[in-house]
């Protein structure tokens, strides 16, 4: 493992590599243009599973002919034992709802510490299907639920039962059998706190590793279940799904606003994720040479990215336009690479910044990360960070003022007196505490808004600080906050982030035209999802683990090459 001091030296100090500036990286639209990469959490999890050859087996598979029942998987890693418990129940079509306010689901599941006995499974059965209305204990790491894809599930069962494979054209429209609508961890509903998981279970001691694993297991169960139902329906005629088609099935995900506040409330963690991604890129820029093999790999992946983007299906006009731009960007990239020899990757990145859309630029960066696993993969061990925000009470008010002017120029330049600048507010509803957006159409709630308007809070603090500093320039922040305790939170945030390269998203999240979709997509890209399908500006469907190895692939040769998967060629008699 690389010495952490090396990473620190690469990030800061006289020998630091040239990372992109926060003004560029933390722009909201650019964050909303990120794609999955080698450092995405699904990728790092799958690498670990495959390299450590986790042993995963169904020790209880009690499903009736319609696929309803109880399933328990036993997961043995090199260090620990876990259980994945899943309950499958009938759900009337009219009760199927992706929103957080739903109360029933097709599947509910829990990832647990250790072995589960019958009594514990019963205890889970009394609570897991209820989700937010139930309670679990600190043996549970993750709680989740999923609904069948109305477009795919029955169709795939019918096909397999009739002895046929699913039509890949149809599957490429929607690449999953189930869609998760919530994946809870980190102590919610009585579950184990992150501190426990991180301290005692190194298998899941990376951000969202347990949550991603739950989705990975769900995806594998969904494939088992359709085959089970098909076989029960037509024992003589049903066929198993071909492995390459199985791998093309991911797991759907439906994400709403609940994910957005996380990015604002965990600035040190988000900064660390972005630092590692940017450091990976900076390493490639500094040390990468576009020799024959690397360049050939880049071209192959760029062509794959082009085809992958062509295969994305969304009804959303905005996303369709963005995808079309990426397709054009990648076509232009191909011409550019054909036209002249490439001296270094910096010139390619500069070309992309001049000629490509933001999503196109970030696609080029994700592909570059893919070309250099030797420079990138070791950074996956540094995506965690202590999240203590500590005030620096001895800092003088003049220093604090200068710090704000240096790091928050983007906020000071916003005219918050403009009528549209504070039109939007973020709040929690009484309904399951669901985060929502409000505007002038909502006559109540503004007074109860969440403090997510960081730019506005910085500006308000700065104005108070300027008045105070004019009178007491030698005073420390402790005195300023004694008089103005309302700024304690924002001052602590500003001071805590001064040692981080990134952290605050440089946008006015209160603006009338703010697009929460960018926040959702940013976090989902770090998770490793693809095929974004916005359903409004407030929620998005996407696909997880498409192309990933299957449980049967564990222990087999693995080249970690499931980045931007393509529709596979089906093995049929016609094709042969």
């Amino acid at each position: 493992m690389i010495n952490p001091a090396v990473i620190q030296a690469e990030l800061k100090g006289p020998g630091a590599l040239a990372l992109r500036p926060a003004s560029q990286v933390m722009d909201l639209e650019r964050l909303g243009s990120l794609h999955q990469s080698r450092l995405s959490f699904m990728r790092t999890l799958v690498r670990r599973i495959m390299r450590e050859r986790w042993k995963i087996e169904a020790v209880r598979l009690e499903l009736d002919n319609d696929g309803y029942g109880t399933v328990v998987y036993r997961i043995q890693t090199p260090t620990c034992l876990y259980s994945f418990v899943l309950f499958s129940s009938y759900l009337a079509p009219e009760d199927r709802n992706d929103r957080v306010i739903a109360t029933q689901w097709d599947l509910t599941m829990a990832l647990c510490e250790g072995e589960v006995d019958e009594a514990y499974v019963e205890q889970l059965r009394q609570n897991v299907p209820k989700q937010e209305a139930g309670r679990v204990d600190a043996r549970v790491f993750v709680l989740s639920r999923a609904n069948r894809s109305a477009r795919n599930f029955d169709y795939v069962v019918d096909q397999l039962a009739s002895g046929a494979q699913p039509d890949l054209k149809r599957i490429s429209q929607v690449g999953y059998l189930y869609r998760t609508t919530a994946v809870y961890g980190s102590g919610k509903l009585g579950m184990a706190d992150w501190q426990k998981v991180a301290a005692r279970h190194s298998d899941f001691a990376r951000p969202f590793a347990a949550e991603m694993f739950t989705c990975f297991m769900l995806r594998n169960f969904s494939l088992t279940q359709v085959e089970h139902i098909a076989k029960a329906r037509a024992p003589e005629q049903a066929v198993a799904m071909q492995p390459q088609i199985k791998r093309y099935f991911g797991i759907g995900n439906s994400t709403g606003l609940g994910m957005a506040p996380y990015l604002i409330n965990h600035p040190l963690l988000i900064s660390r994720w972005i630092e590692m991604r940017e450091l990976a890129l900076a390493r490639i820029r500094a040390f990468g040479v576009p020799g024959t093999e690397r360049l050939a790999r880049f071209r192959t992946l760029a062509a794959r990215a082009h085809q992958h983007t062509v295969e994305i299906v969304t009804e959303d006009a905005w996303q369709t336009g963005k995808n079309q731009q990426v397709i054009e960007d990648l076509a232009a990239l191909k011409s550019h690479l054909a036209g002249q020899p490439l001296r270094d990757w910096n010139s390619l990145i500069a070309w992309a910044e001049q000629h490509c859309s933001l999503q196109g630029q970030e696609m080029v960066n994700s592909i570059l990360l893919e070309v250099y696993p030797d420079l990138v993969d070791e950074l996956e061990d540094y995506t965690c960070v202590g999240e203590h925000q500590d005030l620096a009470p001895g800092m003088s008010v003049s220093e604090l003022k200068a710090l704000i002017e240096e790091r928050y120029r983007w906020a000071l330049d916003i005219d918050f007196s403009a009528p549209r600048a504070t039109e939007t507010f973020w709040y929690r509803s009484q309904e399951k505490q669901e985060p929502r957006l409000g505007g002038s159409e909502l006559d109540c709630g503004r007074a109860k808004q969440m403090p997510l308007g960081i730019g506005l809070r910085v500006v308000q603090c700065y104005q108070g600080l300027c008045d105070y500093a004019a009178q007491h320039p030698e005073h420390s922040c402790a005195y300023f906050l004694f008089l103005k305790p309302e700024y304690r939170g924002i001052v602590r945030r500003i001071q805590s982030l001064r040692h981080s390269l990134y952290g605050d998203i440089q946008a006015n999240l209160l603006d009338q035209d703010v697009l929460p979709m960018h926040l959702l997509r940013c976090k989902l890209a770090f998770f490793g999802v693809s095929k974004f399908d916005p359903r409004s500006r407030l929620w998005v469907r996407n696909t997880m683990f498409q192309g990933a190895p299957l449980l049967d692939d564990i222990g087999q040769p693995f080249d970690d090459d499931w980045f931007l998967p393509l529709t596979p060629a089906i093995d049929t008699e016609d094709a042969r």
């Binding site: 929103r99 309670r135 204990d137 600190a138 980190s186 102590g187 919610k188 509903l189 009585g190 184990a192 706190d193 992150w194 501190q195 426990k196 301290a199 005692r200 709403g256 606003l257 203590h388 500590d390 005030l391 009470p393 001895g394 709040y427 929690r428 509803s429 009484q430 309904e431 505490q433 669901e434 985060p435 929502r436 957006l437 409000g438 159409e441 909502l442 006559d443 109540c444 709630g445 109860k448 403090p451 809070r457 420390s476 922040c477 402790a478 005195y479 906050l481 004694f482 305790p485 309302e486 700024y487 304690r488 939170g489 924002i490 001052v491 359903r535 409004s536 500006r537 407030l538 929620w539």
Partner: protein, 249 residues
């Protein structure tokens, strides 16, 4: 029932936010309560006894009455430690950075035991701090807590005083803070005016905290409901219009 630390902090944050604690303060207050409970020092009991005082919107702001280079007197005007002590410790910290060591006298401050979490923060930030206070009348108790720079957990001693002993000053606290001297304070073992004395070492706090994380935090359903009800003030009524802001646009 058992809850997680994360749930507890999130719920208490909403509770204190609902009492109009400032951003930055309500997070501190939540963690001050959960730290005590998690480390075996009855944070819930302390909070239940203090509920009448913690909603202190009507109280005057914390006031600096006097200071010189290395000392100060601060009046919390009857506020809870949850809504005042973090500011005071920051002042002590800032003064110690300049003077090497600083002494602060805190007046009219309730629920001072909650300082233990703030002391843990001081140690992590490289500051040594000691707090001494007396409390109550029947029976009166006295307390000292301290932490060395770089440590994660404080040392805490509590003694029950004999019936004829009553604190000279009520609701006060003495703080000594330094970035140069490690202050390791402990009540003396058996002075004549004490009925009993107990001490908690940093290692005990660490072990208790780990054990709590392992199995979760036990809380009565009634108290959990109380905390949740306090937090409901920050939630917005569910209406058809508000549902539009959750994805229906």
């Amino acid at each position: 029932m058992r809850i997680s630390l994360n749930e507890l902090n999130a719920t208490l944050k909403r509770s204190f936010e609902g009492m109009n604690y400032f951003v930055g303060t309500y997070e501190d207050a939540a963690q001050m309560v959960s730290w005590l409970e998690m480390h075996g020092e009855q944070g819930f009991g302390e909070l239940e006894r203090a509920l009448a005082y913690v909603n202190d919107e009507d109280k005057a702001p914390v006031e600096l009455l006097f200071e010189d280079a290395s000392s100060a007197i601060v009046d919390c005007h009857g506020r809870s430690a949850l809504n005042s002590l973090a500011l005071v410790l920051d002042l002590a910290h800032a003064k110690a950075l300049k003077a090497g060591i600083a002494t602060l006298k805190v007046q009219h401050c309730h629920n001072r035991k909650f300082i233990l979490k703030l002391l843990a923060d001081c140690g992590r930030r490289g500051i040594s701090m000691m707090a001494y206070w007396q409390n109550g009348t029947q029976p009166a108790t006295e307390h000292v807590a301290s932490i060395s720079a770089g440590e994660q957990y404080p040392r805490y001693s509590e003694a029950v005083l004999k019936a004829d002993c009553s604190p000279l000053e009520k609701q006060t606290m003495t703080l000594i803070c330094s970035d140069r001297v490690n202050i390791a304070a402990q009540l003396m073992s058996s002075p004549n005016d004490r009925v009993s004395c107990r001490s908690v070492e940093p290692a005990t706090f660490a072990a208790t905290g780990l054990a709590t994380l392992e199995s979760g935090i036990e809380i009565s359903e009634a108290l959990w409901q109380t905390f949740n009800q306090l937090g409901e003030k920050v939630l917005v009524e569910n209406t058809e219009a508000s549902r539009q802001g959750a994805g229906g646009r």
